[in-house]
């Protein structure tokens, strides 16, 4: 039987429920957004007891098939004011699905901080007292001591406890590092508002998987998909240079955020290229290939170590290296690794935090390039000073408070490492995704076409957004998109093997479009009208060097993106 569990934190009770028929074929983003849409008042206070936090693995999660057990966290976002689905790796999704759960719904607000312990058919609430105030690393260490290292953890750090908009939910990787975040949109603040410090998902035993309608068919079809992953040149690059190699590409395209999105290219970035990172990690004895979840064969993650070979941070990603590096005019991997370590420990989104610090630098609060100044900001965030809380509120709030107009955000969420004036397909994604400026909603950088030309970018973004939504629903990593062209049939067949129901290409597309339209409808009721589906005005006015580009996709095209199938 497919189940979900609902936790009333105010009452301290819970109940397991059979998954309603209407939710039977919804997973990941489709399920979190449907539950939020069905049950949360769009006008509610995102940090109040009426909001609900939903965790949901994908439809096909729960086995060790490569990169198939992502975890979706959904709620009304305190950052955007709209609906949010934030997606993460780590082992939480895998363990929840192994325990037979399709969703966990957190309702109300506890009087005291809680730990939620989930097993097969069991759920327990325990006081979190001794964990309050601890960072994610120490929290994870204490929980593993109590519950064993085979458990998966979803926890918040001090940022989530302080209800910061930049706070995410930190999920543990196969070695137990709490470094895989549902980062975007303040889902950690929503979890903190419920007074849930940690979710512990217990190991149900060896080789436990969700019930398969046709296990031999599942094994056969998943083999086809895994073979694609194992042999695809497009996937192989992630094992060589991770995501970090995107930096040299976007820099050469002239769309890399430098100095708070004021330039698109800088020769100084040569010290933080993916090639440089891979060489340094290899020379120091770190890990250039690493799985963020059990069974992942893509292995885009890495482990950065210092000159003495001691682990500093996992993982160093392109977006992190840009928003906490180039965007702050800090071209030093060791400094960026320290920032990443701080972000992981606090439990915050590296993109939103880097964007907020960039705006603060533009206001003159600290100087661009000031490594010690950035480290002091992290200290202030931990301690909860006024400055720390200001940065923790996100880039848009920093801009409003400090009088900076040049904030690269949509719906209050900062853009990631692709300037929309150059990577215009991503600009369309930023503007039209119900998630706010989030490249993972539809990252068009993989298209080999002229990104500067505004023509066709709405259709391009739309197709990427649909594919990303499909992958989010199934539970697959976005990088599976590299083999989606050849594996889509495998994935549909895996669905049929799992559930015993047919799934056509049109069905999958319909499922994604329905999800997106449900989210748009929630946003409209929350007060986020079409005027919020826009790239900021200053990015239509201020030309970006070296191409002198502005964002020039017509508004009317943006407004029509979801009108047709």
């Amino acid at each position: 039987m497919e189940e979900m569990v609902r936790i009333d934190l105010r009452a301290g009770t819970h109940r397991f429920e059979s998954l309603p028929e209407a939710y039977r074929f919804l997973g990941g983003r489709a399920l979190t957004s449907r539950i939020v849409s069905d049950e949360v008042d769009p006008t509610c206070d995102a940090l109040g007891p009426s909001n609900k936090l939903v965790l949901a693995p994908g439809l096909l999660s729960g086995t060790v098939v490569s990169s198939s057990s992502r975890i979706s966290a959904g709620a009304k976002s305190p950052l955007t004011g709209g609906i949010k689905e934030s997606n993460s790796g780590g082992n939480t999704g895998w363990r929840l699905a192994q325990n037979g759960l399709r969703a966990v719904v957190f309702e109300g607000r506890a009087e005291q901080w809680q730990i939620v312990i989930i097993g097969k058919g069991s759920l327990t609430l325990e006081p979190a007292g001794d964990l309050v105030g601890l960072d994610t690393t120490e929290t994870a260490a204490r929980l593993f001591e109590r519950f064993g290292k085979k458990a998966a953890l979803a926890i918040i750090g001090q940022a989530g406890e302080q209800l910061m908009n930049v706070a995410g939910i930190a999920n543990t990787d196969p070695e137990g590092r709490p470094t895989r975040l549902n980062a975007r949109g303040g889902m950690g603040a929503v979890m903190g508002s419920k007074r849930v410090k940690a979710v512990v998902v217990l190991d149900p035993g060896p080789n436990v998987t969700p019930i398969m309608f046709d296990l031999p068919a599942w094994r056969s079809e998943s083999k086809g998909y895994v073979k694609e992953i194992a042999t695809s040149p497009a996937i192989d690059r992630y094992r060589k240079i991770g995501t970090a190699g995107t930096l040299e590409l976007v820099n050469k395209l002239g769309g890399l955020p430098i100095r708070n999105f004021s330039r698109g290219q800088d020769a100084a970035t040569e010290s933080i290229t993916g090639m440089q990172m891979a060489e340094t990690i290899k020379a120091r004895g770190g890990q250039n290939s690493h799985s963020c979840m059990t069974g992942c064969a893509i292995q885009c993650s890495n482990v950065w170590v210092d000159e003495g070979g001691k682990e500093v941070a996992s993982s160093m990603e392109f977006e992190t290296n840009t928003l906490l590096g180039a965007n702050l005019e800090i071209f030093d991997f060791d400094a960026i690794a320290q920032f990443t370590r701080n972000c992981n420990a606090l439990g915050v989104d590296t993109i939103e935090t880097g964007g907020a610090i960039g705006v603060a630098m533009q206001a003159g609060l600290i100087k661009f390039g000031d490594v010690e100044g950035v480290l002091d900001i992290f200290r202030q965030m931990r301690e909860g000073t006024v400055l720390g809380k200001l940065i923790g509120a996100g880039a848009t709030t920093v801009g409003r408070v400090l009088g900076v107009r040049e904030v690269a955000s949509v719906k209050g969420q900062v853009m990631s490492a692709y300037d929309p004036r150059v990577i215009k397909g991503n600009g369309v994604t930023y503007a039209t995704s119900p998630m706010g400026a989030d490249h993972t909603a539809g990252n068009t950088i993989g298209a080999k076409l002229d990104h500067l030309d505004p023509k066709g970018k709405v259709e391009l973004s739309k197709e990427f957004q649909i594919t990303s939504t499909i992958l989010d629903i199934f539970g697959f990593c976005n990088f599976a998109r590299a083999v989606y062209g050849t594996s889509a049939a495998n994935m549909r067949a895996m669905f049929e093997a799992r559930f015993g129901e047919p799934m056509s290409e049109a069905d999958v597309r319909h499922m994604a479009l329905t999800t997106i339209r449900t989210e748009v409808a929630f946003n409209r009721k929350a007060g986020l009208g079409p005027a919020t589906d826009r790239i900021p005005e200053w990015m239509r006015e201020q030309a970006l060097a070296p191409h002198g580009a502005t964002f020039d996709v017509p508004d009317e095209e943006l407004d029509r993106i979801w009108d047709t199938d």
């Binding site: 997606n87 040149p233 590409l249 050469k252 990252n443 950088i445 002229d450 990104h451």
Partner: protein
Amino acid sequence: MGHGLTIHLEVYLPFREQRLWRGDETVPDGMTAGALPALLGLTEPELAVLVNGRYVPPETPLRTGDDVAVLRQAEGGA
């Protein structure tokens, strides 16, 4: 018959025993963006060729003075 054309070339992957190779390169007249990696002996799949900071169709002829970058196709974090 021409004598070839000279482009400003950057190669962002191991090439001529360097991690990042940069310099002027003379290539045959009529050389296209899509054919350039093979001419340089770069056999790695999934390469991106940018001409003056933009993707161009592979059949696009290169011109003297073009800034051409050869990189690994890549995509950021999920």
